[in-house]
């Protein structure tokens, strides 16, 4: 079954939880016991409607404060597709959660309150989804019922948003606009009778058209070795298989390859998926590869096609999204995890801090605090084998790990 991962972004009270609840309800993904719980709670709160946002708010603190404090994962499905929503909070201070949600998503829904239109938060939500190169963005203009389903208002918001679009870095991003009322259900799953002027698809119909398998296929396969399989049994005495996941393209038996960092040349002898021999390993498949030559390979090494090498270097510049309450300083040392490969990294220079709102104001700073985004140069103790993030989403990204707390403190996108 096809799986589509979706991120959602909206400001407080934009009706994000309600939209998700509505998607679940209208695709009949809510079970009767959950609907019953929502009914009870809605009545308790004195509402004369079903508050679908109750379907998603998870932790005690969230229900107390009526906010979402962390990424929650929500599941629903149609006949054609399984959907996984990374529901991320929209307040300013939670940039880190939005970056996290967008990193695993193939599409994003940005909510706009039709009464408020494009606000500063919208700029941020769009900036981050564009920075992360999320393939498709759906701008859901919500609460249309509160502006009398006005076409004029919809067009006004759309043209305000188009000004942002003209400033975007990743121009190929697919962007579509849908007028909805999550509360009343207009254009979420069912086509609305209140928006005869809107000729496009409903939200769910649009999601159904997205081909999640075809996304992020750059045609450049990268195979980071996760684990070396050596059974040492009689039957597989000399077997040495390299286990990993294929990113960016396909690998086939007979392909001429180079192993990094040793630069050793070899050829793919076999590809196994469990007990089956396969000819081609497609993108995102977790396979085991054997080579024709006896090469010394360990975790963190990378197998690539001989005619298509990544950059091998001990330094690079990247856009960094800082996620820790401790600051990042010039000279700071971190563990840098690039795919499954870990090296030590030293902050060489913070070029400038980027305001993630298309204001175009870059600041010179000495350190980064939580939720800052900046251009940073690093020096590494060992070379990594990378591509620019814009040409290879997986092989162009990394995380930083604090050597004391072991926490993941930043995400980086190599320039």
């Amino acid at each position: 079954m096809e799986v589509l991962k979706l991120a959602t972004a909206g400001s407080v009270d934009d009706g994000k939880s309600t939209l998700i609840g509505r998607l679940l309800y209208d695709t009949k993904s809510l079970t009767s016991d959950k609907i019953e719980a929502i009914q009870q709670k809605s009545e308790q709160l004195g509402y004369d409607y079903l508050d679908f946002s109750l379907a998603t708010d998870g932790l005690v603190a969230e229900r107390e404060q009526g906010i979402t404090i962390d990424v929650a994962h929500i599941y629903f499905s149609t006949q054609n597709k399984s959907y996984i929503i990374a529901d991320t909070p929209g307040h300013v201070e939670y940039t880190r959660n939005m970056v996290t949600g967008a990193s695993t998503s193939q599409a994003a829904i940005i909510l706009i309150d039709a009464r408020k239109g494009v606000i500063e938060q919208t700029n941020r939500h769009f900036f981050i989804n564009n920075l992360l190169r999320v393939k498709t963005v759906i701008v859901a203009i919500n609460k249309m019922d509160l502006v009398d389903f006005s076409e004029e208002r919809y067009n006004q918001i759309k043209s305000d948003f188009e000004i942002l679009m003209s400033k975007r870095d990743y121009q190929e991003q697919n962007i579509t606009f849908i007028p909805v009322s999550a509360l009343k259900g207009d254009n979420v799953v069912a086509k609305s009778v209140n928006t005869p002027w809107y000729k496009g698809k409903t939200l769910i119909d649009y999601l159904e058209t997205i081909d999640s398998q075809a996304l992020y296929n750059s045609g450049t396969p990268r195979f980071p070795v996760q684990y070396v399989i050596r059974p040492k049994t009689e039957e597989f005495h000399d077997y040495r298989g390299y286990a990993g996941k294929v990113y960016g393209g396909e690998l086939s038996v007979g392909d001429e390859v180079v192993v990094l960092p040793s630069q050793t040349k070899s050829k793919i002898k076999g590809i196994q998926f469990y007990d089956q021999e396969v000819k081609t390993a497609s993108r995102r498949s977790s396979v085991t590869i054997t080579l024709t030559d006896d090469v010394n390979i360990s975790r963190g090494d990378m197998i690539v096609k001989a005619n298509d090498l990544p950059t091998v270097d001990k330094q690079f510049t990247a856009t960094v999204s800082w996620m820790d309450t401790k600051h990042l300083n010039v000279g700071g040392k971190y563990v840098l995890q690039h795919g499954v490969n870990r090296v030590l990294a030293k902050v060489d220079k913070i070029h400038h801090k980027i305001n993630p709102d298309y204001s175009g104001i870059d600041q010179t700073v000495d350190s980064l605090k939580i939720n800052d985004i900046a251009t940073v140069s690093f020096k590494l103790n060992k070379p990594v084998f990378y591509d620019a993030f814009k040409s290879h989403r997986t092989n162009g990204s990394f995380i930083l790990i604090d050597t004391l707390s072991n926490n993941t403190v930043a995400a980086g996108f190599i320039q």
């Binding site: 016991d33 959950k34 990424v71 990204s397 993941t408």
Partner: protein
Amino acid sequence: MKNTSQINPLENEAIYIFREVAAQFEKPVLLFSGGKDSITLVRLAQKAFYPASIPFPLLHIDTGHNFPETIAFRDRLVKELGLELIVRNVQDSINQGKAKEESGKYASRNTLQTVTLLDAIEEFKFDACIGGARRDEEKARAKERIFSVRDDFGQWDEKNQRPELFDMLNGMIEHGQNVRVFPISNWTELDVWSYIQKENIEIPSIYFSHTRATFLRDGLIWSADDDVVFREEDEIVEDRVVRFRTVGDMSCTAAVLSEAKTIDSVVEEIRNSTISERGARIDDKRSEVAMEKRKQQGYF
């Protein structure tokens, strides 16, 4: 020869996670309950390391209140696949005075498992415990990471979790900490059943329709076969045709009326079901925040 173009993204993600566990940790263990989710984990682990065998043992925290069918199944599976099985008993924790048996009508040993689990983690110095929890099961689990760090006391700090970006999993921990790993985080109940169907995975017989002596309480059907579940005198025992949709401790797992005798009919039934899986788990009905509380204390 074929290619892997018709891939199941969830299966490939789970295999990737298993390999990360084997590479990043010194002493992983797979928490095995004998239920369908942990049986699915075993199959995925086989796939991840083939042709080598699974490079870690299974750990069963036995409440002593398991369905006999589950235990028989567990022992057969372990033998057939040549796996190492470690069993630790909640009864021992009770005898040692570390856990207190609950009393009354709703008494269950489900919560007590946490004590035994944390002791076993310390005894064997496990640094990664792989579990079959899924995010679609419950609200608190929806916020759970794939690699979820627990402190020296096995506790979950839900407000201070590591962000998980792209495919990158950070399993770096300090001595004494451990990580709970959830390879099928992103699977739904239907995904698990469809996988069992497609892979033809054997599961315990109680998942299929059978006749059982039962009684009704709070609208749920309870097994009356044994002494584990406390029954009032006015709760009348009757034979019903039932199956179990989720298999936990007998004292907290209710049956559902079902004629589904084969995996195909079970999948069909789940597809059309209007009640959630944990709707038949009394451990979650205790309060709206039952799972969150248990997780903070070290439950998985």
